[in-house]
Protein backbone atom coordinates (compact mmCIF):
# COMPACT_ATOMS: atom_id res chain seq x y z
CA UNK A 1 0.00 0.00 0.00
CA UNK A 2 2.85 2.39 0.82
CA UNK A 3 4.26 1.88 -2.67
CA UNK A 4 0.90 2.70 -4.26
CA UNK A 5 0.55 5.79 -2.09
CA UNK A 6 4.03 6.93 -3.09
CA UNK A 7 3.27 6.53 -6.80
CA UNK A 8 0.01 8.44 -6.42
CA UNK A 9 1.67 11.24 -4.47
CA UNK A 10 4.36 11.63 -7.12
CA UNK A 11 1.72 11.80 -9.86
CA UNK A 12 -0.06 14.52 -7.86
CA UNK A 13 3.27 16.37 -7.78
CA UNK A 14 3.65 16.15 -11.57
CA UNK A 15 2.30 19.62 -12.31
CA UNK A 16 3.51 21.17 -9.04
CA UNK A 17 7.14 20.30 -9.80
CA UNK A 18 7.01 21.43 -13.41
CA UNK A 19 9.23 24.29 -14.63
CA UNK A 20 6.09 26.36 -15.39
CA UNK A 21 5.21 26.41 -11.70
CA UNK A 22 8.74 27.37 -10.63
CA UNK A 23 8.55 30.29 -13.07
CA UNK A 24 5.21 31.35 -11.58
CA UNK A 25 6.61 31.04 -8.04
CA UNK A 26 9.60 33.23 -8.94
CA UNK A 27 7.48 35.86 -10.70
CA UNK A 28 4.91 35.75 -7.91
CA UNK A 29 7.32 36.28 -5.02
CA UNK A 30 9.06 39.02 -6.97
CA UNK A 31 5.81 40.86 -7.57
CA UNK A 32 3.94 40.24 -4.31
CA UNK A 33 6.81 39.69 -1.85
CA UNK A 34 5.38 38.81 1.59
CA UNK A 35 1.84 38.82 0.24
CA UNK A 36 2.86 35.95 -2.03
CA UNK A 37 3.30 33.70 1.02
CA UNK A 38 -0.19 34.65 2.23
CA UNK A 39 -1.68 34.03 -1.23
CA UNK A 40 0.08 30.67 -1.50
CA UNK A 41 -1.14 29.60 1.93
CA UNK A 42 -4.75 30.55 1.07
CA UNK A 43 -4.49 28.69 -2.26
CA UNK A 44 -3.16 25.59 -0.46
CA UNK A 45 -5.97 25.75 2.11
CA UNK A 46 -8.61 25.99 -0.61
CA UNK A 47 -7.05 23.09 -2.52
CA UNK A 48 -6.89 20.99 0.67
CA UNK A 49 -10.52 21.75 1.57
CA UNK A 50 -11.66 20.91 -1.96
CA UNK A 51 -9.72 17.65 -1.74
CA UNK A 52 -11.32 16.71 1.58
CA UNK A 53 -14.76 17.32 0.10
CA UNK A 54 -14.15 15.46 -3.15
CA UNK A 55 -12.64 12.49 -1.28
CA UNK A 56 -15.18 12.56 1.56
CA UNK A 57 -15.85 9.07 2.98
CA UNK A 58 -19.61 9.64 2.63
CA UNK A 59 -19.15 9.72 -1.13
CA UNK A 60 -17.62 6.26 -1.07
CA UNK A 61 -20.71 4.59 0.35
CA UNK A 62 -22.02 3.64 -3.07
CA UNK A 63 -18.96 1.55 -3.78
CA UNK A 64 -16.47 4.17 -4.90
CA UNK A 65 -17.06 7.52 -6.54
CA UNK A 66 -14.39 8.80 -8.86
CA UNK A 67 -14.16 12.42 -9.96
CA UNK A 68 -15.99 11.80 -13.22
CA UNK A 69 -18.87 10.16 -11.36
CA UNK A 70 -18.96 13.15 -9.03
CA UNK A 71 -19.27 15.58 -11.92
CA UNK A 72 -21.96 13.45 -13.56
CA UNK A 73 -24.01 13.47 -10.36
CA UNK A 74 -23.42 17.19 -9.84
CA UNK A 75 -23.72 18.78 -13.27
CA UNK A 76 -25.00 16.03 -15.59
CA UNK A 77 -23.32 13.81 -18.19
CA UNK A 78 -23.16 16.27 -21.09
CA UNK A 79 -21.46 19.05 -19.15
CA UNK A 80 -19.15 16.49 -17.52
CA UNK A 81 -18.06 15.15 -20.90
CA UNK A 82 -17.60 18.68 -22.22
CA UNK A 83 -15.50 19.91 -19.31
CA UNK A 84 -13.34 16.82 -18.98
CA UNK A 85 -12.72 16.31 -22.68
CA UNK A 86 -11.94 19.96 -23.37
CA UNK A 87 -9.77 20.54 -20.32
CA UNK A 88 -7.82 17.28 -20.56
CA UNK A 89 -7.15 17.62 -24.29
CA UNK A 90 -5.99 21.21 -23.89
CA UNK A 91 -3.73 20.33 -20.96
CA UNK A 92 -2.20 17.18 -22.39
CA UNK A 93 -1.40 18.77 -25.74
CA UNK A 94 -0.35 22.32 -24.88
CA UNK A 95 1.59 22.13 -21.61
CA UNK A 96 3.89 19.36 -22.91
CA UNK A 97 4.48 21.29 -26.16
CA UNK A 98 5.78 24.28 -24.23
CA UNK A 99 7.57 22.36 -21.48
CA UNK A 100 9.39 19.99 -23.84
CA UNK A 101 10.70 22.82 -26.02
CA UNK A 102 11.80 24.75 -22.91
CA UNK A 103 13.60 21.64 -21.69
CA UNK A 104 15.32 21.36 -25.04
CA UNK A 105 16.70 24.85 -24.56
CA UNK A 106 17.75 24.06 -20.99
CA UNK A 107 19.65 20.96 -22.12
CA UNK A 108 21.26 22.83 -25.00
CA UNK A 109 22.30 25.88 -22.97
CA UNK A 110 23.26 24.16 -19.71
CA UNK A 111 24.58 20.72 -20.65
CA UNK A 112 25.48 20.05 -24.29
CA UNK A 113 25.84 23.11 -26.50
CA UNK A 114 26.09 21.19 -29.76
CA UNK A 115 22.97 19.10 -29.20
CA UNK A 116 19.90 20.42 -31.05
CA UNK A 117 17.30 21.67 -28.61
CA UNK A 118 14.40 20.32 -30.66
CA UNK A 119 16.12 16.96 -30.94
CA UNK A 120 16.26 16.75 -27.17
CA UNK A 121 12.61 17.80 -26.84
CA UNK A 122 11.61 14.95 -29.17
CA UNK A 123 13.82 12.52 -27.22
CA UNK A 124 12.04 13.40 -23.97
CA UNK A 125 8.66 12.96 -25.64
CA UNK A 126 9.77 9.59 -27.00
CA UNK A 127 10.95 8.55 -23.52
CA UNK A 128 7.54 9.23 -21.98
CA UNK A 129 5.76 7.47 -24.85
CA UNK A 130 7.99 4.40 -24.51
CA UNK A 131 7.27 4.27 -20.77
CA UNK A 132 3.55 4.22 -21.50
CA UNK A 133 3.89 1.70 -24.30
CA UNK A 134 5.77 -0.69 -22.00
CA UNK A 135 2.86 -0.49 -19.60
CA UNK A 136 0.78 2.06 -17.77
CA UNK A 137 1.97 0.68 -14.43
CA UNK A 138 5.59 1.08 -15.52
CA UNK A 139 4.96 4.70 -16.51
CA UNK A 140 3.40 5.34 -13.09
CA UNK A 141 6.47 3.91 -11.36
CA UNK A 142 8.76 6.06 -13.50
CA UNK A 143 7.10 9.10 -11.96
CA UNK A 144 8.94 8.29 -8.72
CA UNK A 145 12.27 8.69 -10.50
CA UNK A 146 11.31 12.03 -12.07
CA UNK A 147 10.02 13.35 -8.76
CA UNK A 148 13.05 12.13 -6.83
CA UNK A 149 15.36 13.88 -9.29
CA UNK A 150 13.49 17.18 -8.96
CA UNK A 151 13.21 17.02 -5.18
CA UNK A 152 16.82 16.00 -4.60
CA UNK A 153 18.15 18.72 -6.93
CA UNK A 154 15.98 21.33 -5.26
CA UNK A 155 16.96 20.08 -1.81
CA UNK A 156 20.69 20.32 -2.55
CA UNK A 157 20.19 23.75 -4.10
CA UNK A 158 18.12 24.93 -1.15
CA UNK A 159 20.66 23.74 1.42
CA UNK A 160 23.41 25.45 -0.54
CA UNK A 161 21.24 28.55 -0.73
CA UNK A 162 20.58 28.70 3.01
CA UNK A 163 24.26 28.27 3.78
CA UNK A 164 25.16 31.03 1.31
CA UNK A 165 22.48 33.47 2.44
CA UNK A 166 23.24 32.85 6.13
CA UNK A 167 26.95 33.43 5.63
CA UNK A 168 26.50 36.53 3.48
CA UNK A 169 23.05 38.00 4.10
CA UNK A 170 21.80 40.50 1.54
CA UNK A 171 19.28 43.28 2.22
CA UNK A 172 15.81 42.01 1.37
CA UNK A 173 12.69 44.03 0.67
CA UNK A 174 10.08 42.03 2.58
CA UNK A 175 7.26 44.52 1.99
CA UNK A 176 3.99 43.46 0.47
CA UNK A 177 3.09 44.65 -3.00
CA UNK A 178 -0.02 43.66 -4.87
CA UNK A 179 -0.45 42.08 -8.26
CA UNK A 180 -3.85 40.47 -8.71
CA UNK A 181 -2.98 38.18 -11.63
CA UNK A 182 0.05 36.78 -9.86
CA UNK A 183 -1.74 36.50 -6.51
CA UNK A 184 -4.84 34.80 -7.93
CA UNK A 185 -2.45 32.74 -10.05
CA UNK A 186 -1.29 31.06 -6.80
CA UNK A 187 -4.37 28.88 -7.21
CA UNK A 188 -2.63 27.26 -10.18
CA UNK A 189 0.18 25.93 -7.97
CA UNK A 190 -1.94 23.23 -6.39
CA UNK A 191 -3.66 21.82 -9.45
CA UNK A 192 -3.23 18.19 -10.37
CA UNK A 193 -4.33 16.53 -7.13
CA UNK A 194 -6.82 14.38 -9.06
CA UNK A 195 -4.82 11.17 -8.90
CA UNK A 196 -5.91 8.39 -6.60
CA UNK A 197 -4.41 4.96 -5.86
CA UNK A 198 -5.39 2.82 -8.84
CA UNK A 199 -5.61 -0.56 -7.18
CA UNK A 200 -7.34 0.33 -3.92
CA UNK A 201 -11.05 0.39 -3.32
CA UNK A 202 -10.95 3.57 -1.26
CA UNK A 203 -10.05 6.99 -2.59
CA UNK A 204 -7.58 7.87 0.13
CA UNK A 205 -6.76 11.52 0.69
CA UNK A 206 -3.28 10.85 2.06
CA UNK A 207 -1.22 10.79 -1.18
CA UNK A 208 -2.73 14.03 -2.47
CA UNK A 209 -2.45 15.78 0.91
CA UNK A 210 1.16 14.59 1.20
CA UNK A 211 1.88 15.96 -2.28
CA UNK A 212 0.23 19.26 -1.39
CA UNK A 213 2.36 19.62 1.74
CA UNK A 214 5.56 18.81 -0.13
CA UNK A 215 4.63 21.36 -2.78
CA UNK A 216 3.78 24.00 -0.20
CA UNK A 217 7.06 23.60 1.70
CA UNK A 218 9.04 23.59 -1.53
CA UNK A 219 7.33 26.70 -2.94
CA UNK A 220 7.72 28.70 0.25
CA UNK A 221 11.31 27.61 0.76
CA UNK A 222 12.25 28.33 -2.84
CA UNK A 223 10.35 31.63 -2.88
CA UNK A 224 12.17 32.84 0.24
CA UNK A 225 15.52 31.71 -1.13
CA UNK A 226 14.86 33.42 -4.45
CA UNK A 227 13.91 36.73 -2.86
CA UNK A 228 17.01 36.53 -0.62
CA UNK A 229 19.26 35.92 -3.61
CA UNK A 230 17.83 38.06 -6.42
CA UNK A 231 16.26 41.55 -6.37
CA UNK A 232 12.45 41.38 -6.42
CA UNK A 233 12.15 43.50 -9.57
CA UNK A 234 14.44 41.12 -11.44
CA UNK A 235 12.44 38.09 -10.30
CA UNK A 236 9.09 39.57 -11.29
CA UNK A 237 10.28 40.84 -14.67
CA UNK A 238 12.05 37.78 -16.05
CA UNK A 239 10.85 34.67 -17.85
CA UNK A 240 13.50 32.50 -16.13
CA UNK A 241 13.41 33.44 -12.41
CA UNK A 242 14.24 29.86 -11.39
CA UNK A 243 17.45 29.82 -13.44
CA UNK A 244 18.50 33.29 -12.29
CA UNK A 245 17.95 32.34 -8.65
CA UNK A 246 19.82 29.05 -9.07
CA UNK A 247 22.78 30.85 -10.66
CA UNK A 248 22.76 33.51 -7.95
CA UNK A 249 22.76 30.82 -5.24
CA UNK A 250 25.44 28.49 -6.54
CA UNK A 251 26.81 29.70 -9.88
CA UNK A 252 27.30 27.06 -12.56
CA UNK A 253 26.57 24.21 -10.15
CA UNK A 254 23.25 25.88 -9.37
CA UNK A 255 22.49 26.09 -13.08
CA UNK A 256 23.25 22.40 -13.53
CA UNK A 257 20.98 21.47 -10.62
CA UNK A 258 18.21 23.67 -11.99
CA UNK A 259 18.78 22.11 -15.43
CA UNK A 260 18.18 18.66 -13.90
CA UNK A 261 15.07 20.04 -12.19
CA UNK A 262 13.74 21.45 -15.47
CA UNK A 263 14.32 18.27 -17.47
CA UNK A 264 13.08 15.84 -14.81
CA UNK A 265 10.17 18.17 -14.01
CA UNK A 266 9.21 18.26 -17.68
CA UNK A 267 9.24 14.45 -17.91
CA UNK A 268 7.17 14.37 -14.71
CA UNK A 269 4.53 16.80 -15.91
CA UNK A 270 4.22 15.21 -19.37
CA UNK A 271 3.92 11.75 -17.80
CA UNK A 272 1.41 12.96 -15.20
CA UNK A 273 -0.73 14.76 -17.79
CA UNK A 274 -0.79 11.66 -19.99
CA UNK A 275 -2.03 9.69 -16.98
CA UNK A 276 -4.55 12.41 -16.11
CA UNK A 277 -6.05 12.53 -19.60
CA UNK A 278 -6.14 8.75 -19.99
CA UNK A 279 -7.64 8.36 -16.52
CA UNK A 280 -10.44 10.79 -17.35
CA UNK A 281 -11.06 9.20 -20.75
CA UNK A 282 -11.18 5.78 -19.09
CA UNK A 283 -13.76 6.97 -16.56
CA UNK A 284 -15.81 8.53 -19.35
CA UNK A 285 -15.58 5.37 -21.45
CA UNK A 286 -16.67 3.24 -18.51
CA UNK A 287 -19.89 5.28 -18.40
CA UNK A 288 -20.29 5.29 -22.17
CA UNK A 289 -19.67 9.04 -22.25
CA UNK A 290 -16.52 9.13 -24.38
CA UNK A 291 -17.69 10.18 -27.87
CA UNK A 292 -17.06 7.52 -30.50
CA UNK A 293 -16.01 4.94 -27.93
CA UNK A 294 -18.27 2.06 -26.93
CA UNK A 295 -19.00 1.69 -23.24
CA UNK A 296 -16.22 -0.33 -21.63
CA UNK A 297 -12.47 -0.60 -21.39
CA UNK A 298 -10.25 2.04 -22.96
CA UNK A 299 -7.21 1.17 -25.07
CA UNK A 300 -4.77 3.64 -23.46
CA UNK A 301 -1.82 3.04 -25.79
CA UNK A 302 -3.76 4.39 -28.78
CA UNK A 303 -4.35 7.65 -26.96
CA UNK A 304 -0.72 7.94 -25.86
CA UNK A 305 0.41 7.58 -29.46
CA UNK A 306 -2.23 10.06 -30.61
CA UNK A 307 -1.21 12.63 -27.97
CA UNK A 308 2.46 12.18 -28.87
CA UNK A 309 1.80 12.58 -32.59
CA UNK A 310 -0.16 15.79 -32.08
CA UNK A 311 2.45 17.20 -29.67
CA UNK A 312 5.18 16.25 -32.15
CA UNK A 313 3.39 18.05 -34.96
CA UNK A 314 2.76 21.13 -32.78
CA UNK A 315 6.45 21.27 -31.87
CA UNK A 316 7.52 20.65 -35.46
CA UNK A 317 5.22 23.39 -36.72
CA UNK A 318 6.89 25.77 -34.29
CA UNK A 319 3.92 26.53 -32.03
CA UNK A 320 6.35 27.05 -29.13
CA UNK A 321 7.90 29.89 -31.10
CA UNK A 322 4.66 31.86 -30.92
CA UNK A 323 3.66 33.97 -27.92
CA UNK A 324 0.13 32.63 -28.34
CA UNK A 325 1.17 29.25 -26.85
CA UNK A 326 1.54 30.88 -23.41
CA UNK A 327 -1.95 32.35 -23.84
CA UNK A 328 -3.38 28.95 -24.71
CA UNK A 329 -1.61 27.35 -21.74
CA UNK A 330 -3.01 30.05 -19.45
CA UNK A 331 -6.51 29.36 -20.82
CA UNK A 332 -6.03 25.61 -20.26
CA UNK A 333 -4.99 26.20 -16.65
CA UNK A 334 -8.02 28.43 -16.10
CA UNK A 335 -10.25 25.65 -17.38
CA UNK A 336 -8.46 23.13 -15.14
CA UNK A 337 -9.06 25.36 -12.13
CA UNK A 338 -12.72 25.77 -13.08
CA UNK A 339 -13.17 22.00 -13.42
CA UNK A 340 -11.63 21.62 -9.94
CA UNK A 341 -14.17 24.11 -8.63
CA UNK A 342 -17.00 22.21 -10.32
CA UNK A 343 -15.85 18.99 -8.67
CA UNK A 344 -15.89 20.66 -5.25
CA UNK A 345 -19.35 22.03 -6.08
CA UNK A 346 -20.63 18.59 -7.08
CA UNK A 347 -19.20 16.99 -3.94
CA UNK A 348 -20.76 19.72 -1.80
CA UNK A 349 -24.15 19.22 -3.45
CA UNK A 350 -24.10 15.47 -2.86
CA UNK A 351 -22.81 15.80 0.69
CA UNK A 352 -25.40 18.50 1.42
CA UNK A 353 -28.19 16.10 0.44
CA UNK A 354 -26.80 13.64 2.97
CA UNK A 355 -26.71 16.26 5.71
CA UNK A 356 -22.92 16.37 6.02
CA UNK A 357 -22.00 19.52 8.00
CA UNK A 358 -19.93 22.28 6.34
CA UNK A 359 -20.51 20.86 2.89
CA UNK A 360 -21.34 24.41 1.76
CA UNK A 361 -17.58 24.97 1.73
CA UNK A 362 -17.62 23.34 -1.69
CA UNK A 363 -20.01 26.00 -3.02
CA UNK A 364 -17.77 28.69 -1.54
CA UNK A 365 -14.70 27.15 -3.20
CA UNK A 366 -16.54 27.01 -6.52
CA UNK A 367 -17.42 30.70 -6.13
CA UNK A 368 -13.82 31.69 -5.26
CA UNK A 369 -12.41 29.69 -8.18
CA UNK A 370 -14.95 31.16 -10.60
CA UNK A 371 -14.24 34.72 -9.43
CA UNK A 372 -10.51 34.01 -9.74
CA UNK A 373 -10.95 32.64 -13.27
CA UNK A 374 -13.02 35.63 -14.37
CA UNK A 375 -10.67 38.17 -12.77
CA UNK A 376 -7.62 36.44 -14.25
CA UNK A 377 -9.18 36.58 -17.71
CA UNK A 378 -10.30 40.19 -17.28
CA UNK A 379 -6.90 41.38 -16.06
CA UNK A 380 -4.97 39.55 -18.77
CA UNK A 381 -3.74 41.59 -21.72
CA UNK A 382 -4.62 38.56 -23.87
CA UNK A 383 -8.19 38.35 -22.54
CA UNK A 384 -9.79 38.22 -26.00
CA UNK A 385 -7.60 35.35 -27.31
CA UNK A 386 -8.18 33.47 -24.03
CA UNK A 387 -11.96 33.78 -24.34
CA UNK A 388 -11.77 32.91 -28.04
CA UNK A 389 -9.66 29.82 -27.27
CA UNK A 390 -12.01 28.68 -24.50
CA UNK A 391 -15.00 29.13 -26.80
CA UNK A 392 -13.18 27.31 -29.56
CA UNK A 393 -12.55 24.22 -27.45
CA UNK A 394 -15.69 24.23 -25.30
CA UNK A 395 -18.42 24.85 -27.89
CA UNK A 396 -17.50 22.07 -30.37
CA UNK A 397 -16.84 19.69 -27.48
CA UNK A 398 -20.24 20.53 -26.00
CA UNK A 399 -21.90 19.91 -29.37
CA UNK A 400 -20.06 16.59 -29.69
CA UNK A 401 -20.97 15.59 -26.14
CA UNK A 402 -24.65 16.48 -26.71
CA UNK A 403 -24.70 14.54 -29.99
CA UNK A 404 -23.06 11.52 -28.34
CA UNK A 405 -25.44 11.71 -25.41
CA UNK A 406 -28.50 11.61 -27.72
CA UNK A 407 -26.98 8.84 -29.81
CA UNK A 408 -26.17 6.85 -26.68
CA UNK A 409 -29.77 7.19 -25.46
CA UNK A 410 -31.08 6.10 -28.86
CA UNK A 411 -28.72 3.09 -28.85
CA UNK A 412 -29.85 2.17 -25.35
CA UNK A 413 -33.52 2.33 -26.40
CA UNK A 414 -32.80 0.28 -29.54
CA UNK A 415 -30.83 -2.31 -27.58
CA UNK A 416 -33.59 -2.55 -24.97
CA UNK A 417 -36.20 -3.08 -27.72
CA UNK A 418 -34.03 -5.78 -29.31
CA UNK A 419 -33.61 -7.41 -25.93
CA UNK A 420 -37.38 -7.40 -25.33
CA UNK A 421 -38.02 -8.71 -28.86
CA UNK A 422 -35.54 -11.48 -28.27
CA UNK A 423 -37.31 -12.60 -25.14
CA UNK A 424 -40.87 -12.60 -26.60
Amino acid sequence: MAWTYLITATLCLGWMLSPDVFIRVGNGVGANKTLFIVGGAVAALLAARALFLVRHPQLQNDGGTNRTDLLVYGVGPTLTTTLLLASRMALVLLIPTGALVASGYAFNEIFVYWFPNFGFAYLLLALVVVLHLVSEAFARKAQIVFTALVLSSMLILSVAGWITTNSSPVPVDTGASFSLPLLAGSLFFFLGLEFSPDNLQTESRFPAIGALLVGLVLFFGWAMLSIHSVPAERLSGTTIPHLIAARAIWGDTGRVLMGITIIAGTCGVVNALFHLAIGSFRELAARGLLPGHPRGELMPRRYVVLFALIIGVLMGKGLAGYEILDTYIQASLLLWLFVGGMQAFSAATLLGRRGVPHSWHGHAIMTVYTVAVVSLIASDSEAVPIVRFLALILLPTAALAAFWSRRRLALNVTNNQHAKGGHS
Binding site: V101, A102, I110, Y113, T239, I240, R255, G321
Partner: protein, 88 residues
Protein backbone atom coordinates in the same frame (compact mmCIF):
# COMPACT_ATOMS: atom_id res chain seq x y z
CA UNK B 1 30.09 35.95 -22.79
CA UNK B 2 32.10 33.50 -24.86
CA UNK B 3 29.64 30.76 -24.09
CA UNK B 4 26.82 33.07 -24.90
CA UNK B 5 28.25 34.12 -28.20
CA UNK B 6 29.19 30.58 -29.15
CA UNK B 7 25.49 29.77 -29.24
CA UNK B 8 24.46 32.54 -31.54
CA UNK B 9 23.44 31.97 -35.08
CA UNK B 10 23.10 35.16 -37.00
CA UNK B 11 21.04 35.54 -40.05
CA UNK B 12 20.42 38.63 -42.11
CA UNK B 13 18.23 36.77 -44.52
CA UNK B 14 15.79 35.43 -41.94
CA UNK B 15 12.80 37.48 -42.85
CA UNK B 16 13.88 38.98 -46.15
CA UNK B 17 12.71 37.95 -49.58
CA UNK B 18 14.90 35.63 -51.63
CA UNK B 19 15.63 38.52 -54.00
CA UNK B 20 17.40 40.35 -51.21
CA UNK B 21 18.86 37.27 -49.58
CA UNK B 22 21.84 37.10 -51.86
CA UNK B 23 22.92 40.61 -50.85
CA UNK B 24 22.74 39.97 -47.14
CA UNK B 25 25.75 38.58 -45.39
CA UNK B 26 26.17 36.27 -42.43
CA UNK B 27 28.16 37.31 -39.41
CA UNK B 28 30.10 34.97 -37.19
CA UNK B 29 30.42 35.16 -33.43
CA UNK B 30 33.86 36.77 -33.38
CA UNK B 31 32.85 39.46 -35.86
CA UNK B 32 29.89 40.47 -33.73
CA UNK B 33 31.91 40.22 -30.52
CA UNK B 34 34.35 42.75 -31.95
CA UNK B 35 31.52 45.15 -32.75
CA UNK B 36 29.51 44.94 -29.54
CA UNK B 37 30.71 48.32 -28.23
CA UNK B 38 30.08 50.11 -31.52
CA UNK B 39 27.55 52.97 -31.60
CA UNK B 40 26.82 52.02 -35.18
CA UNK B 41 25.29 48.67 -34.27
CA UNK B 42 21.71 47.66 -33.53
CA UNK B 43 21.07 44.04 -32.51
CA UNK B 44 17.54 42.80 -32.98
CA UNK B 45 16.60 39.67 -31.06
CA UNK B 46 13.93 38.20 -33.31
CA UNK B 47 13.23 35.13 -31.19
CA UNK B 48 9.62 34.81 -30.03
CA UNK B 49 7.59 32.61 -27.71
CA UNK B 50 9.46 29.89 -25.82
CA UNK B 51 12.46 30.37 -28.12
CA UNK B 52 13.05 33.65 -26.33
CA UNK B 53 11.41 33.15 -22.95
CA UNK B 54 13.15 29.81 -22.19
CA UNK B 55 16.60 30.99 -23.12
CA UNK B 56 19.11 32.09 -20.54
CA UNK B 57 21.18 33.78 -23.17
CA UNK B 58 20.19 37.26 -24.17
CA UNK B 59 22.66 39.71 -25.71
CA UNK B 60 22.92 42.82 -23.52
CA UNK B 61 21.45 45.80 -25.32
CA UNK B 62 19.62 43.71 -27.91
CA UNK B 63 16.16 44.94 -28.86
CA UNK B 64 13.33 42.45 -29.21
CA UNK B 65 11.68 42.61 -32.62
CA UNK B 66 8.90 40.37 -33.82
CA UNK B 67 9.54 39.04 -37.36
CA UNK B 68 5.82 39.31 -38.07
CA UNK B 69 6.12 43.09 -37.71
CA UNK B 70 8.89 43.22 -40.29
CA UNK B 71 6.95 45.62 -42.52
CA UNK B 72 7.10 48.29 -39.79
CA UNK B 73 10.73 47.83 -38.78
CA UNK B 74 11.77 50.63 -41.10
CA UNK B 75 9.82 53.10 -38.93
CA UNK B 76 11.12 51.88 -35.59
CA UNK B 77 14.82 51.16 -36.23
CA UNK B 78 17.54 53.47 -37.60
CA UNK B 79 18.32 52.85 -41.26
CA UNK B 80 21.80 54.36 -41.10
CA UNK B 81 23.16 51.75 -38.68
CA UNK B 82 24.25 48.16 -39.09
CA UNK B 83 21.35 45.94 -38.05
CA UNK B 84 22.12 42.42 -36.87
CA UNK B 85 19.33 39.91 -36.48
CA UNK B 86 19.73 37.21 -33.85
CA UNK B 87 17.33 34.33 -34.30
CA UNK B 88 18.59 31.31 -32.34
Amino acid sequence: MKKLLSLLVFSFAFTLTPAFAADVGMMNVDELKGMLDSDNLVILDVRTGKDWSSSEFKIPGAIRANPRDFATWGESHPKDKKIVLYCA
